[in-house]
Symmetry: C3
Subunit: 364 residues, 3 copies
């Protein structure tokens, strides 16, 4: 597997990923995918290393994916479950991380409901001078880089299974539909997809769109699209970042092809790929949405709506799906359209690739 | 280990198990038992395969048994725990199963409080054309085949440790005592034990006996026993099956030696083996039982009652036991009578055998 | 690794540990520590053995430490989690232990909120004639031997990394500060530290000190120190032992250098090491403490207070720490003073050593 170009210790955000890094992940994931097609789906690459899965926010699905990736690299895993943890005993998150460091963890996979927690742990590890990599498995409304990378791998390996690479998406149009505002998946995907040169079109109810487009240039040049009203809402991307030291990505997003719409139709029009986002039902109790039914009527992905897209359009969803809300139930199960299963499979390969790349830098 | 005769992909119910299949399981389990007597209790048989334990209904004991069986075959396991799962997020059970499929699971062990869930998952796997075996680890009040097979292995390997086989029970009398109505353990055991040619006598309070005996011929031929009143209660075995597509086993149970009693004495009389069932305390809040004390007085297994049985009678219980309810506490600990520990040990061997048989059909 | 002198099957209490046993553990832990410094931190010592972690009282941190120790010896582990267990179904603890025995466990690591549970399980295993070792991972307010042994290893390997041994502490003064009364960590440490010949000084609020000093000779000979008032409070060490058959350790503690103080200053004066204990916040609702703030003012470890100690004094804490209560936050993070990270690291090495020593007596 290709590791020559990899120098990154932590994977916290895709904001500063380079094209070479994307391609290294994609090509390493392709090698991992090949391992997974064997009967004995295991390599000794990380034997004897310990990976701590610190899931302060519970997630069976993502944890299973990381755990399987670790096992297939022959690493040992330690699982921290928030529910039975000493967090209830008043220990800080950094103390927990340092405890797992002292036990001998070589890498940490961290999920937390607050943005910035994985970054804070990574900074602490660096400050302590230890060579422990931290992988952000989802932090608040900030980022979920491994999800965006598995989406990228799903798309690019569909276009070229032998040689998936960023530039395969350069001329594609990709729609991201739903609750952009609260979605760490969307934020990470915006970085990776726009980095490829693709046109990325966001669509969702105004209450569920971030307000930073105006600030950063929405309404002029490539940013402004749809009706003028969209630019009326101005605010800050930093909504979810209050507790972190994450830099504003404003300067980096400029010069990329990112568009925003209040209606779904302009986003879908001639799109090559449609990414739907999970709708948290809590959004309704917060009065950001009238009803699931109305949401589906206006923003749900259906066979009819897909006729606006390119022939051969494919639909993605990070799961778990609310059937009949983000996407109609029959469409979800139609393998002519849905890439949802491939995304899950890609997840194991991409997480193997990330752990392998991070772990191969450890001293022998 | 003998796999020549094994062609079954899923183990969902014992209703259609053939004598040859029972014997293959018993003989494979005997080989596994031998592995377990070594210091290094491990074989590389399923190395690199992934077994997903999907326990929608929590069970430390059964999950541990399956997990250990998998480890001793060198398989990797993924544990799904309902409590922290995305089920609370609105995902369907089939979606969860498909997610674990997409991650690369080769087999699934499924427990659910609704009858028919493992069957539904197995049908979906077949429909998708994937060679993934599903093992029913207990579904509602339907079946618990691995429990009945471990009971069968416990009994037959007691009679011939070298060569346990179904026909060893042909002339035995076996009593099953307790809450037959709600017991998936009883249902599976009825299939296996009557298949051996043994006489199977069910005994329990009328409120806890299934009502299908009448419908299916109780009161005539071999079905009718005890006092006539027993045949007054008529109903359906399908009580627990409402959500499944499981076929009525009516035709299959005929011509087998199955008897039903409201009193315990005729069931125990000259019995070679007595199986007691766990009493769920919820039954009392549902007014199906007066009190635990009265239950014990009428249906509890005690030294006195065992005098009705054959000398050398042995007692089984699937565990966990309510001491002093289903069985008197001192009897449970008396290794002259109790096979409870052997059942647990057999559990690991039989589950190893099942996973081995199901897994050895996977493409190499 | 040195196992010649090891004949102990269970590790339940340090009350009867011999100096040779302490030294065997320390030297074996030093070998394990060396294994942990390699890239592949794994040895096949216990391959094929099964270690059951029966944590009736939840503890992510201690369970992770034991689990990692087991994995690094290549043992398989079974984790029992109280929350989802059949304990809620009425099974006794001994029944649970016997179930895990019957599944094939070779060793059991047991934590329970009641004192004496691991002892009771060990007695049952012996009664059954099985060679299964039981390790007490914390029982009520009784003992936590692996914690005291990791503290001992932390201290002695600081003094001589190559050859840690009990007698290195012979002339040291060690203060143990805090809630001695409720602390199983303190109780185990009292045994090991006084066995080394060190002077051990206990300090804490009178409400949080055990009352057995008077009974057993406090106020005379080496026991009496500080002001006379301390001896006014008389009671029994056995507070936490009511449900166990643990023998009174009274006779064994005599002739050791143990002192007790109501004020922190005499304990700290010229101390070489200071052990702080975790303060359970429940103590306040029980009116044993006025407030965390007042506790910190009177008994918290701060830079100022450490000036009373020997230069080069080191501070220990079993974790998790309530920052700013038992110890000031900045001191905890100052590696010139704090041994907290080393304790966690020692924990894995010492637990490996204990499991190795207990497991190497198993028949091959």
């Amino acid at each position: 597997m290709a590791t020559a170009t990899w120098t990154r210790r932590h994977v916290l955000s895709l904001a500063d990923f380079t094209p070479a890094e994307y391609d290294t992940v994609l090509q390493t994931a392709a090698s991992c995918q090949e391992v997974l097609s064997r009967r004995t789906k295991k390599v000794p690459a990380l034997q004897g290393l310990v990976i701590a899965n610190l899931f302060f926010e519970p997630s069976t699905r993502t944890r299973s994916s990381f755990e399987l990736a670790a096992k297939r690299l022959s690493a040992d895993t330690l699982n921290f479950a928030a529910a039975t943890s000493s967090l209830t005993k008043g220990e800080t998150i950094l103390d927990t991380a340092k405890t797992y460091l002292a036990m001998g963890s070589d890498m940490m996979v961290i999920r937390h409901r607050e943005a910035g927690v994985p970054q804070a742990v990574a900074e602490e590890m660096d400050r302590l001078g230890v060579r422990v990599g931290v992988l952000n498995a989802g932090d608040g409304q900030h980022e979920h880089p491994s999800q965006a990378l598995l989406d990228l791998f799903t798309l690019t390996s569909l276009l070229d299974p032998e040689y998936p690479r960023l530039k395969l998406l350069a001329d594609k149009k990709i729609a991201i539909v739903g609750d952009i505002l609260h979605s760490r998946v969307a934020r990470s995907n915006i970085w990776s997809l726009t980095a490829s040169g693709a046109e990325v079109h966001l669509a969702g109810p105004p209450t569920l769109l971030p307000k930073w487009f105006g600030e950063w240039g929405v309404g002029s040049g490539e940013w402004g699209v749809g009706n003028g009203e969209e630019n009326g809402e101005i605010g800050g991307w930093e909504d979810g970042f209050s507790q972190s030291k994450i830099q504003s990505p404003k300067s980096k997003i400029q010069n990329r092809k990112l568009f925003v719409h209040w209606e779904i139709e302009p986003a879908l029009k001639e799109a090559d790929f449609v990414m739907t986002l999970r709708l948290q039902k809590e959004r309704m109790t917060a009065h950001l949405l009238p009803s699931l039914r109305e949401y589906h009527q206006r923003y749900g992905i259906t066979r009819d709506r897909l006729k606006l897209c390119q022939p051969g359009v494919k639909v993605l969803h990070p799961g778990p799906v609310n059937r009949g809300v983000e996407i109609s139930s029959d469409l979800m199960d139609d393998s002519d359209f849905s890439l949802i299963s491939q995304q899950v499979t890609s997840g194991v390969a991409v997480r193997m690739a990330l752990l392998f790349l991070m772990g191969s830098g450890k001293p022998v």
